[in-house]
Every structure is written in C-alpha cells, then in structure tokens.
C-alpha cells in the first residue's frame, strides 16, 4: 500500500464513529490528566488498559494514543499557568512559559504552545508515514543479533542519557528484566522463579505491575503534596491572538524542534522528554539574544513543544514496525496491543492496515481537534487546575481496583497492586525511576529470546554482534553511551582538582 492509499484507507477507518469517539475521548482525557499535576500520561494509560478490553483493539489503541499526545497539550497548560509541569515532557515549557504568564502574556504563551504542539505533531505524522514504510522493509534484514543489540542499546540509552545517577537507572532496568524472567521459559519450558505458584506461570501480570507503580504508588506520593494551588488569573480568548511580529518568530523554532523531536522520538531509548530539553538548548544556541531565555522568549516554548509532540508520534515507529518499544509509555502501548492479540512487527503494515493507518490518521484528527477545542476551552482547563487532589485520588483507587479485578477476577491481583504500590513509593522517595523498570520488564523476554537465537545461529560466537553491520552500529552506540558518562565524571574530577590546586 502506498502512503497515499494508506492514508485514504486510514481516513475511512479513523472516521468510523466507534473509532472517532474513542480517539477524541482519549485526546480530551489526556489533556485533562496532563493539566492535573500528580497524574501523568503513564498513570492514565495504565488505568485505561483494563477498560480497553471492552472495546475493539483499533479503538483501544487509538484511545490510549490520544491520552499520550493529549497529555502533552495539557501538560503545557499547567506548566505555563502554574509553573507546575503536569508531565515530564513539559518541564522545559515552564522556563519561558511561566515568566510570560507572570507578565500578563499567558495567552501568548498558551497560543504558542498549542500551535507548536500541533505543527510538531503534523511533522511527526509525516515522518512516521515515511519512516514506517521504509523501516518495515528494512526490518526483513534484521536478524536476531540486530534486534538484541538494538534493544540493549535502547535500554542503556534510556537509563544513561540525561540521568543524574546512571547506576540507579540501570539498576531499575535490570530489576525489570529480572521480573520479566518470571514464568515459563519459552525456549526450554522450564518454570523460572514461579516457586510452584500456578498464577505466575504466565509471568507477572503487566496490568498489576503498572497499576502498582504508576497508580497506587503515585497516589501515595502525592497525597501530601501541594494541596492548594494559587488560582491563576483569568485567561481571555482575545489575549490568545498574537501580533504579527510574534507570529513571525514561530515557524523556524517549530521546524527545528520538530526535526529534532522526530529523530530522537524514533530512536529507541530517547524520547519526548529528552527531545524537549535538547530543543530548548538548540533554540538558545541559535538565538541572537540567548541571555533573554528564561524571561519569556516564545522560541523557548515553541521549539520544545514542537519537539516533544513530534517525538511522541515518531516513538510509534519502532514500536509498530519492529515490535520494540523505545520508551516506557510505548512499552505500555505494546503491552496493550499484545493483550489484544496484536503482535506489532514488520508485517503490521500489511497484516493490520486498519490498525496502522487508522492510528496514523487518528493522530491527525486528534491533534486538529485538540488545537481547535483547547484554545476556546482554555477557561475550563484553568478551572480544572483548582480541583484538589483529595477529590481525585479516592476515585483513582477505586478505578485501580476495578481495573485490575476486571482482568481475571482475582482479588489476589489487587493485593499485589497494594504491595507493588508500597515498593513503588519507597523507590520514588529514593529517586529511582519506576518507568524504567517497566521498560525492562516488557523488553526482557524479547531480548533474551533474540540473544539466545543469535548465539545459536552463530554457534556460540559472540563476534556475530560486530560482524553484522546493523548490530555493529548499535554495539558502537551502546559502548559510546557507557563510556561517555565515565569520561564526564573523570573530566569533572580533573577540573575540580585543578581548581583546588
């Protein structure tokens, strides 16, 4: 199917009422959780995971994706108006968005973030369409060694890039990998770490794990925090319209941010959060007035917002064409697809055109919808910011329980969520990132299978990872990622010593 045919086909799928409703519902829900500090896209997608059993796989994935990109829009609103980023991706937006809002230009900041998010998404969709077709053809040349090397690079990239303590991040990934071992070993049929429990034969339940880490633990973390926010000033629709000179400043940062985001989003291990930070750094570097950044420059909003939105779209490239999730949210998406009996991979474009093209077009429709609806509805989102957390979290707890219970009617699973929630809270207080645990958990079985297959094919010769060009590229990238932080630490030590001399 050519991209154009594909898009036409996707349009016919995405416009079906049963799909359209869930796509828009997801987008609105995403904006809602993005606006609310304390609940992120991760938690929202987890909470919706069990409910998605009750709708078709296409509708489910379109809705969950809507939550993901919707949260990017909503996150920016809380960042700009309250300096409280609702999502990690919108942390950078506080830097110049909040100062603008303080100066009475909240409207300009919101408009900039919305239009940049939208343009970034459209750019991301174009890249997704082009890249997915190319990569699914490339993927036929991917061998077991290449898959294994790519996934290992993804895990190491996710835990070292932008992490203050790489050892802690890597430890989370490895704990996830170990938890992923639980259950029946696909190669030998041996029961590993099940300790005779039949419930564990199929492995640890993804829904229970995610609910514990992102539902229960997040609730515990947030009950005490920021009970009352300073209510932001009223934002009028008329103040949203920028002047011509301000409008002229937007296209270039958007283009730069979107290109950057599309690239890093598609790369496993780097995602929208990193893209937004890089885009901010880039805008500052190319600006003629870098000293003004942090005081309310629109470029500081438009670049990062375009970057994180385009990245959140292109993140679907490796997930859908190779079956390899590049970041924790994609790991959850992959989990959702697998729960619905859809195995993403190179055949996905051919075998499930409804799913793939329907999803692509729903990105476009959902983003357009958010652009058109969010600006007029900004007053509603602002009032959402006033909802205290104590009204929400009891509902979240009921939601978690029912969601987990609905998977297989097991009260034991709910108890497990409570236990995982306690561990998750202790991890959060120690500044571990539980999202990486989930990434390791989902990728673990895939890595092991491919690693073992690669070694079997090469007759036990590990050189296969260097001889194959694709895998060699990932091995080099992995080594660079490991060495780079070490070099930085050593250099810092040397410079400290020189200063002390």
């Amino acid at each position: 199917m050519s991209p154009l045919d594909g898009l036409m086909h996707g349009l016919s799928v995405a416009l079906q009422p049963s799909i359209l409703v869930f796509s828009l519902l997801g987008a609105i829900l995403g904006t809602f959780v993005g606006v609310l500090p304390g609940i992120g896209a991760m938690a929202a997608i987890t909470l919706l995971l069990p409910i998605s059993y009750y709708i078709s796989p296409e509708a489910a994935i379109v809705m969950l994706a809507g939550v993901y990109y919707g949260a990017q829009y909503g996150g920016a609103v809380a960042s700009i108006l309250l300096c409280l980023p609702g999502t990690p991706q919108s942390v950078v937006t506080t830097l110049d968005g909040y100062p603008l809002a303080r100066n009475g230009r909240a409207g300009l900041a919101l408009f900039t973030s919305m239009i940049s998010s939208f343009s970034g998404s459209i750019f991301g969709i174009i890249v997704l369409v082009l890249l997915a077709g190319w990569l699914s053809q490339m993927a036929t040349q991917f061998g077991a060694a290449d898959y294994a090397a790519m996934m290992i690079m993804g895990l190491i990239a996710a835990s070292t890039i932008g992490s203050a303590r790489p050892a802690k991040s890597l430890a989370m990934v490895v704990v996830g990998l170990i938890l992923g071992l639980i259950g029946t070993d696909v190669n030998s049929g041996v029961q590993r770490f099940t300790f005779g429990q039949t419930e564990l034969m199929d492995g640890l339940n993804l829904v229970a794990l995610a609910m514990g880490l992102f539902g229960a633990a997040e609730v515990i973390n947030n009950i005490r925090k920021t009970e009352r926010h300073t209510p932001p000033d009223r934002v009028r629709l008329s103040s949203l319209v920028p002047s011509w000179s301000e409008l002229k400043r937007l296209p270039l940062p958007i283009l730069r941010g979107a290109s950057l985001g599309s690239f890093f989003g598609a790369l496993p291990g780097t995602g929208s959060t990193i893209s937004s930070f890089l885009a901010y750094a880039l805008e500052r570097k190319v600006s003629k007035t870098p000293e003004k950044f942090g005081t309310g420059e629109v470029e500081g909003i438009s670049g990062p917002e375009a970057a994180n939105n385009s990245a959140s779209i292109t993140a679907f490239v490796p997930t859908l064409t190779l079956g390899i999730p590049g970041d924790p949210i994609m790991a959850l998406m992959l989990g959702a697809l697998v729960l619905h009996g859809v195995q993403p991979g190179p055949q996905m474009l051919e075998a499930r055109p409804d799913m793939f093209w329907g999803l692509v077009v729903s990105f476009g429709i959902g983003n357009l919808f958010l652009l058109l609806v969010n600006l007029p509805l900004i007053g509603i989102w602002v009032s959402m910011l006033r909802i205290p957390f104590r009204w929400l979290y009891p509902a979240i707890i009921v939601f978690i329980s029912l969601g987990v219970y609905s998977v297989r009617g097991s009260s034991l699973d709910i108890a497990m969520v409570a236990g995982i929630g306690i561990v998750g809270h202790a991890l959060a207080q120690a500044k571990f990132n539980p999202a990486l645990l989930l990434l390791g958990f989902v990728l673990g079985p895939l890595i092991e299978t491919n690693l073992r297959r690669a070694m079997l094919i090469s007759r036990g010769d590990p050189m296969v990872f260097i001889e194959r060009p694709i895998s060699c590229f990932f091995v080099i990238a992995t080594v660079a990622l490991v060495i780079w932080p070490l070099v930085k630490v050593l250099r810092d030590k040397v410079s400290v010593r020189q200063e002390s001399l």
């Binding site: 009260s411 709910i414 929630g421």
Partner: protein
Amino acid sequence: MQRDVHDLWWGGFLALFGLAVAIYAALSYDIGTLRQMGPGFFPLVLGGVLAVLGVLIVIPALMRESEKRPIAWREMLAVSAALLVFGLLLDRVGIAITTPLTVLLATSVAPHKGIVWRLALAAIITVLTWAVFVFALKMPLPVWPRGLVP
C-alpha cells in the same frame, strides 16, 4: 541534612537481591553454553549485573549527604488498606457497599478536615463507578450483597 540512607538501603538491598537471583538461578536451572544457553544463563548474568550495580549505588552514597525524604507511612497504609478492602469485599457485598468504604478509608489520610465532603465524595464516586463500569461498560460486577437481590 543526613547521610543518603535511601541509596544505602536500596543499593544494599538490590545487591543482595541480585546475588540471590544469580545463586538461585545457578543452583536451580541449567546454565548451558554460549551456543546453547540454558534457562539459567540470563538470570545468572542479570543477577550478577544487579549485584554490581547495587554496590555502585552504595559506594557514592557512603560519602554523600542527602535531603530528608521521609516515607509516607500513613498514606501508604491507608491506600493499601483501601485497595485490600476493595479486593476482599467486592465479591461478597458488591460495589454499593465496597466503593463508599474504600473511599472513606482512602480519604482518612487526606490533609483536609471535615466529614461532609468525605461522605459526599463517597456517594458521588459510588454512583460514578456504577454508571461507568456496570451501566456503560457492562462489566459483570455484583452491585448488592449476595442474596439481597434475586
């Protein structure tokens, strides 16, 4: 300021956990060869890596001070209790009784006094739960205690 106890505890725990995984795997499962990896190979390697990482977390934490980040014991207890009560009672008495009980348990640690908002919230969430899960999604959930309704 105090020593980074979080990293000390977690680093130590993860190191021991990794060691336990590696030893258990080595004793219980076939390791195999590089060519024919057995079911024990991957766990052994992962356990070893985690043990090393645990030590790497502990060492810098010994020389570092950190802000206090206390564990929220009361919140932890209330949220777990709310979840457990829901899990235990749902089958027996249905959502009409389980949901408000869970909400009241959960709100017991909310940093806001008063009883009216708690009761109102319990009622609202119960109705919403019924509307979303039973009415809209048609989940086969018991609504009332068994035996009360035919």
